[in-house]
Symmetry: C2
């Protein structure tokens, strides 16, 4: 083991020669250090590494990206092992992502990133409440230990992994999905309904049924007879279609992707070197070997045909990879079951039978029977899938992202994916997978957003309303209130569940949801600015209160989150609640956000530091503006592209002075990477009994600005400024 | 349809001739009323009855006994259909009990009890948030509509169904269970450990492995070679053994219960009149036809052998009835799977295959293929199981209870059961089934206790720590803090999960749990008194705040419950929480209960009406004493039988005067039914700057009484009274 240190004090630990993940892209200068004291206790045994740390009584552990349970991860066992399991019950240890970064705050603050391609298990004070025990399924890995404040630790980590994926700006609009809008007629009906109901929307999703029998990169002629012109028609209405691509390639003679893949040995192989056969939606499939650079190029180019038809983005799914069954597994299970015919089963044999069938999906034995030809700097490496499992979805999406770049290097494309590894954060956004219409999953969504920010997944969000199960009007509304602030705002639900488009409930609910989506559009310039700044400054877009507040109470708050530099959100996450408790670590201004119309001086209430019970009617959510911070709204429109700077509303809680940088850019190209963007600096200064706004901007279309500035006595000052003059 | 009215204003609705449930045992005088306005909207169609009611915006719906979700049931769909499903996720609609009683509080208060043996579905503002829609799977049923206050409605209902089951007093002690303490050596080790650790305990459970290959009423000679003397030995230590009895009787030549059952046609039959064959733990079983009086007598008598050996109680399990598979179902499934051998399965065939196997357990098709010879007043009735499903577990337990009565009519026996119907409340207690070590299930436990009280299930509690899954020390402690107040306090967990006896964690946790169990024992006289009075007065032992408080905020509180006449409990139910919010509908006194030792004047804090954040360390739980109420503690001992009145501690929040009736009785016989019991009336009156206690008692052993009386200014008065003289 070698330990290095950077000038910023990051410790870099190298054990053996890890399978490269290409996650760390900005390696600082490190120098080897000798005789340093050990970081935790590290034991190697039987090919595993056990790494233990002591936890003090009040230490809090944040992180692990997309995983179960609370903000504070203490008290349970978690795994990093990309898993397609649609039942996110509290006993589950992993979801779709593998995000090996966490931060401990307490007696000593530290963070750890384990750069590793395989499975890692974290016992965070479960077996022994005072121990954090990590089991790495391997002996070769890199690790980085960070010290400092919560903010500096997460910044240092994010600097290592580089900037996160930036979608086109329309991706901050409302997105409507369903498994499935099965043909062009249905998609058009959905699009028309949004317009006739006057509800903003920017994208409609195509789930697996748009394909010709679930074959990647095909389009069903029957369901979408004129796909290209259909895409064009929607585009003319400024609506995007987002088709799904699955990891598995259907085994079918005459299907070019399959045939080319077989011919060029592009598929993951079995123990005998033949393409590994498993079944997913299309039935029998082979899995492209995304760990091979040639395969990535081939698969990435396959997206081009739809890009040429006008498609501007995709969602990659089933890329853990999910396996319904492998050929071998199914044959064995059927043989076992068949052998029981006519037998007088004892009960344990029956359970074995049941387990054989239930255990067919995502079986570890299948993962261990799959082989990759991984491209590395030192040539092609034959690796077992199990050891690189967490890189699979990552590299599928990397293939797509690199394909997009080859198609048009300056254009941004929309990319969302299910399975992920921290290394993927630069290539794509993620949704939080197949959640349910459970209040518990709304809470999980709230608690997961900060850990996703920590892991670099800034463009993310949940299936609003829940994917599985049936949503109530109330849960739909409360979830929309939270998702109004998540960069990805997508309403998605599964086949067989209650329909949950905004108009599927009663008229009162429709109005609330419409108001909420209009609020989202009014917030887009602000959300986009916060997103871009969090990305460039390596700050957290969503954060636990402890990110900004050092008091011990803030460490305990599990159902409020900071958003960006100036807001705190306290969503209602309980059925039938008409209010909730909030803890304010300092004085803040409450906006019971229900609509962006009819704002007035009574819309904002200054609240004192401390604990409060807040009544919140079904159409109200609690948005807090932090001290000396500003929030900017524009006028809602029905598409992101129609939003303007014609009339901005600035809401601020300003004791003396507050400044806000309203970042903006063209929203479609990568020119921002060269620093090309608009900046509008808004500064509100108290001058005696009133306030003065000064604006420093490169935006030529800036129109009137209306201000609601709340002073330290709670008085709201309503001011208007025409074209820059107050 | 006929509608009758009682002089108390209860409406009794009779539609057709229902299958008798024998639930209503105290029928008041009713007179037929004509031309009364309809109660809701009732529609019959295709053998079903749909009954709809309007809900006002702020109506709250309490009840449905053992079911999912919150105190307020609004916003979801529930079923009354006894179900053995060990995954109590938020989308489940039913658990093990079928409890068709609920109360609506709001613009108008009303309650409804549907007396029916089959399935009932309740859409409580889910499909349409302003509608309560009940679907009864039949057209013949009785129903009772109640009006009045929450308290009067529940009293009227409880008066109809008669007094609830009363266990022996030792059942208020701590009970230790595990699937399984598999032999006498292990049971003895557990018993010894409780004594050596100085932890109070009254009962140890025997799960299925004590039997000879899971055969009811057998004892494995190998595992319990000297069962009778073993029972005697434990009894000498004042410890009870509680064996399990399952519903299904093993099919095995030479096994007398099986042979006699077949010979006498005592088993539920299939469509052809042969005993219905299904598999449960023993492998192939037949189900006794508990709806037949002869069968009940036969099965009830089968308990006698173990009673003669000194066993004093049982738990009846698997009596929904749970079916792992039926012979017919399994054969069909195996045939289907076998037919797929060598086929190239399409994905939908694979899902069908999976469903065939997964659908084997508790299949409706099996329930519909089972037939009963039900005993009714008008003779034997052939009924399909599906139509009387909810009576099955009820009548198994009734068989046991009636058997106990025949064994010794004056003695109380311990009886706990899993499946239930409201009619069973007079025969047995229930545990809340196979929960998980999830924080969500601790919350569910808290929320379920009031609805169980409403349904008459006063003797109940959850598997503390959780049955399935692995419990953390923290969850164990927080759950113990709540279960300290549930009449049934049982620690039970499943095979393969983390061991969760009090000593299975760290030393600090052991101490906390020991203190907590000692607190429970100190509370037993009080808990027992509250239990007996709630039973006799038809009041709720656990209740939503709205039971006593009329303010609108009380209607919204979902995580605090009233206990008995004088307490409010606010348990910590969140992982890593070191405190919680509470709402006080009036001024109350807080006891941060951590131990009953070292009480002092600082132990009690008066708190003002309103909202508070309470810090609560891991060993503290929030017990509130309501205004002008008293709480009584005795000195803890290691067995309930050792508790005495030698030294009582009375804690009270007394502005002017408070009275408490400390009911007591012999705890072992049914003499209490004749009114034979002890009453100790404690009256604390403010006299100027101090307080006077007067005691009116029939207890001759009453010793010293120590008082902590908190006055309206929050001052604690510490007083001592020797042998009745202050």
């Amino acid at each position: 083991m070698k330990i290095f240190e950077s000038k910023d004090g990051i410790n870099y630990i190298r054990r053996g020669q890890m399978i490269p993940t290409e996650t760390v892209v900005n390696m600082p200068d490190f120098h080897l250090i000798e005789n340093r004291k050990a970081i935790g206790t590290l034991i190697e045994s039987k090919g595993l590494t056990e790494w233990s740390f002591s936890l003090s009584a009040n230490d809090v552990v944040y992180g692990l990206g997309q995983n179960m349970r609370g903000l504070n991860k203490r008290g349970f066992v978690y795994e990093s092992f990309c898993s397609d399991d649609p039942n996110h019950t509290p006993d589950k240890r992993s979801l779709y992502g593998a995000h090996n970064f966490f931060v401990v705050l307490g007696e000593e603050n530290w963070g750890l990133y384990i750069d590793f391609a395989g499975k890692v298990t974290y016992d965070i004070g479960f077996e022994d409440k005072n121990q954090l025990k990590i089991t790495i399924e391997g002996v070769d890995f890199d690790a980085y230990v960070f010290k400092g404040t919560f903010e500096s630790i997460t910044k240092q980590f994010r600097a290592l992994i580089g900037p996160s994926y930036v979608p086109p700006k329309w991706a901050f609009g409302y997105q409507q999905s369903r498994w499935s809008y099965e043909d062009a007629t249905v998609v058009k009906e959905i699009a028309d309904r949004f317009d006739s109901e006057d509800i903003p929307c920017d994208a409609i999703y195509l789930d697996i049924d748009y394909m010709e029998r679930f074959k990647d990169f095909t389009i069903s002629d029957e369901r979408f007879p004129e796909f290209k012109s259909f895409v064009k028609d929607l585009k003319a209405r400024d609506l995007k279609l987002v088709p799904i691509i699955d990891a598995g390639v259907k085994v079918e003679e005459g299907y070019s992707v399959y045939e080319e893949g077989v011919e060029k040995h592009y598929f993951v192989t079995d123990d005998k070197g033949k393409p590994f056969s498993a079944a997913v939606w299309p039935g029998k499939v082979h899995f492209p070997d995304f760990l091979n650079a040639d395969v990535r190029e081939w698969f990435g180019n396959a997206y081009h045909e739809m890009l040429e038809m006008g498609i501007e983005g995709f969602w990659n799914d089933m890329n853990e990879p999910a396996i319904f069954y492998s050929e071998k597994g199914l044959n064995e299970a059927i043989a076992f079951v068949s052998a029981q015919a006519g037998q007088n089963l004892d009960i344990y044999t029956f359970f074995t039978l049941k387990d054989k069938i239930m255990g067919l999906s995502n079986a570890l034995s299948d993962y261990k029977a799959m082989w990759h030809r991984m491209t590395t700097r030192s040539g092609e490496l034959k690796v077992n899938h199990y050891d690189v499992h967490n890189l699979y979805g990552y590299n599928m999406t990397r293939a797509a992202a690199e394909g997009f770049k080859r198609f048009d290097s300056d254009r941004r494309f929309f990319m969302l994916t299910r399975a992920s590894h921290i290394g993927m954060a630069k290539h794509s956004g993620i949704w939080t997978g197949d959640n349910h219409s459970w209040w518990e999953h709304l809470k999980l969504n709230v608690q997961m957003m900060p850990s996703l920010s920590m892991a670099g997944f800034l463009y993310s969000g949940a299936d609003t309303g829940g994917f599985g199960g049936n949503v109530s009007a109330e849960l739909m509304v409360r979830w929309m209130q939270f998702s109004t602030f998540t960069p990805l705002l997508r309403n998605h639900s599964a086949m067989g569940t209650r329909r949950q488009e905004p108009w599927q409930f009663d008229q009162a609910t429709l109005k609330i949801i419409r108001d909420q989506i209009r609020m989202r559009y009014a917030l887009v310039p602000y959300l986009y600015a916060e997103f871009m700044k969090a990305n460039q400054d390596q700050t957290l877009l969503f954060a636990p209160l402890a990110y900004a507040y050092g008091d011990s109470r803030s460490l305990l708050v599990e159902d409020q989150v900071l958003f960006g530099e100036g807001l705190m959100l306290a969503p209602v996450i309980e059925q039938n609640a008409l209010g909730r408790y909030v803890y304010l670590p300092e004085d803040m201004v409450l906006w019971k956000a229900s609509s962006v119309e009819n704002l007035n001086q009574e819309s904002f209430v200054k609240m004192e530091h401390g604990d409060h019970y807040l009544p919140l009617a079904i159409n109200e959510s609690a948005v807090f503006i932090r001290k000396n911070h500003l929030l900017v709204l524009t006028e809602p429109r029905n598409r992101v592209s129609k939003l303007s700077y014609d009339h901005l509303t600035v809401i601020g809680y300003v004791e003396d002075e507050a400044t806000y940088d309203l970042y903006d850019d063209d929203g479609v190209t990568n020119q921002f990477e060269k620093g090309i963007h608009h900046k509008t600096r808004l500064t509100v200064v108290r001058v005696g009994e009133t306030y003065r706004l000064s604006v420093d901007t490169t935006v030529t279309t800036l129109g009137n600005i209306e201000l609601y500035i709340i002073d330290k006595n709670g008085k709201t000052h309503h001011l208007k400024q025409e074209k820059g003059v107050l």
